[in-house]
Amino acid sequence: MDLLEYQGKQLLGSVGVPTPAGEAAETSDEAEAAATRIGCPVAVKAQVQVGGRGKAGGIKVAQTPAQARAAAEAIIGMDIKGHHVHRVWLEPAADIASEYYASFTLDRSAKKYLGMVSAEGGVEIETVAAESPEKIALVHIDPLLGLRNFHVRRLLFGGGIPKEQHKPMANVLTKLYQAFVELDAELVEVNPLVVTASGEIVALDAKVSLDDNAEYRHKETFTAFHEIFATDPQEKIAKEKGLNYVKLQGNVGIIGNGAGLVMSTLDVVAQAGGKAANFLDVGGGANAELMANALELVSGDPQVKSIFVNIFGGITRGELVAQGIVDALKSVDIRQPIVVRLDGTNAEEGRRILADNPNENLHSSPTMLDAANMAVQLGA
């Protein structure tokens, strides 16, 4: 789960990383009141799960509460790279002396944690990486060894942090690492990590991504932050029903088992000249009920003109898939043609069930390619 800036800062603050106090606001009224309480000048910042806010005009500094109201009015409702701005975050405008970059993440290739520090903060770190990679310290950390003093020294010296900042920066890095591990974060990134004119270190921005698989260890955090995010209504239903669903732009509804096979199905549909309306993975061990739910969900999308059910049974058993399709056709009003391709565990039994329950909207096809062609033609 990608957190909004202010959510990330709250979490980092809770382990002792210095962050500015501030307030969130969803209306210009709220923003003006918040600016009054915080004291001006304040920064008014769009809260979206995407980078590049500043360039897009999503961050403004206000000298008065009235300016803050105007800024909030301009920012709330903006669309930044496809993300609608629902709220802003207000915090005291910082008097910045220097800007650093610091992050911890998991390096999949090295199978270790990776710490990164650079004195070139405040700009996009990709730019620094491309133009002067020697200005970024990259340090791998063994997950069992954990962050040790030598790692911290390598980050500080390698990242070009001035010596007089080493001690407080070491403290901040240790806490960022602690947050990264204890929160089960995929990424903890602070850019810029600023030194103010008065010499304090403050995390001025924060990008924190939490590991969804670790939700059971952080129930409260996930619950608190989940409700914030407005989700596509169909994606929300899918989540409730345990379906892995993503809305796409085409007109062929896709239902399959296993992310790899579903991705392959999207590709094959494209190769057949069509376009998938969605990604839907029913996962391993799909039963009749799950299949029926999947069909109901996909057929409920007005863009969908035909549906391609592509199942290769492993744990998933063909007869249960077939039964789910038959059930769905009885209980749900499905108008789109459905092309079913069943293979693997108990596929023959499943095909027999489909044959025993004929329906004019139901088509079978023996191979993935033929089925894709048929689904595309039926949806044209």
């Binding site: 996009e124 997950p143 089960d184 670790a214």
Partner: protein, 289 residues
């Protein structure tokens, strides 16, 4: 020979008494796999259709000579089961469990590296050497004994490709589902190395997906391989993967797209199929033509 598993493989199943563990372990045994023990703390002394259950993997290894662990326990306990298996001295851990936190996976990997134990998965369908041994959830009936090696991140996509191969009469030496999680025990490149060294394998199918740079790294190794490779990458049309923030892009040095991966494989000399059916055809041409 085959890689990872063969007739000498003796499996201890962590979570044997659970629904999934029981179902698949018995299926594996029915295939001919030596499933010699199960582990469920507190159920030591019981048995599952003749397979003895122990309180710890150590005990199971001591009593039955098990050399391979198959893990079916739920996510909050799966990492501990993998660590326990490694500590008990098995040679290989195959972890099927989906949904393990990445931190747990990273810790497990570090410990396994230290103990010299290999791991397949987590979040994987397992591994099968057709005619010899099947560990995990792959449907063995679609496989056929032969000399094609197959490695894939994904389960059902593996089945699809195996199905295509078998329909061409092309049997498999070993099919390895390495799993799609952030930290997995064996990457494509690790499996390719083993296929290259395996006298029973004559050609290899490698199935990739969008995200990460593992396929690109594997491509570097394919350049040095003596055995032909047919590749396939899924996800040309897939929604953009989960954003890992700016840090991710720097690490991988890859765009992570299906097109970039397919290109890297082709540049390394692999034939790349556009879909599973074409993969089967390309391999048939290679081997038979």
């Amino acid at each position: 020979m085959a890689i990872y598993v063969n007739q000498e493989t003796k499996v201890v199943v962590s979570g044997l008494t659970g629904r999934e563990g029981r179902f698949h372990a018995l299926r594996n045994r029915a295939y001919g796999t030596q499933v010699v023990a199960g582990v469920t703390p507190g159920k030591g002394g019981q048995d599952v259709e003749g397979i003895p259950v122990f309180n710890s993997v150590r005990e199971a290894v001591d009593e039955t000579g098990a050399n391979t662990s198959l893990v079916f326990v739920p996510p909050p306990f799966a990492a501990d089961a993998c660590l326990e298996a490694a500590d008990a001295g098995v040679d290989l851990v195959v972890c099927i469990t989906e949904g393990i936190p990445a931190r747990d996976e990273a810790e497990v990997y570090a410990y396994l590296q230290q103990t010299g134990v290999e791991m397949i998965g987590p979040n994987c369908p397992g591994v099968i050497s057709p005619g010899k041994c099947n560990i995990g959830i792959m449907p063995a009936e679609i496989c056929k004994e032969g000399s094609i090696g197959l490695v894939s991140r994904s389960g059902t996509l593996t089945y699809q490709v195996v199905h295509e191969l078998t329909q061409h009469g092309l049997g498999q030496s070993t099919c390895v589902g390495i799993g799609g999680d952030p930290v997995i025990g064996q990457y494509h490149i690790d499996v390719l190395r083993k296929f290259e060294d395996d006298p029973e394998t004559t050609a290899v199918v490698m199935i990739g997906e969008i995200g990460g740079d593992e396929e690109e790294r594997a491509a570097e190794f394919i350049k040095t391989m003596t055995k032909p490779v047919v590749g396939y990458v899924a996800g040309f049309e897939a929604p953009a993967g989960k954003k890992m923030g700016h840090a991710g892009a720097i690490i991988s040095g890859s765009k992570g797209t299906a097109a970039a991966k397919a290109e890297a494989l082709e540049a390394a000399g692999a034939k790349v199929g556009r879909n599973p059916t074409e993969v089967g055809q390309l391999m048939a041409n290679l081997v038979q033509g």
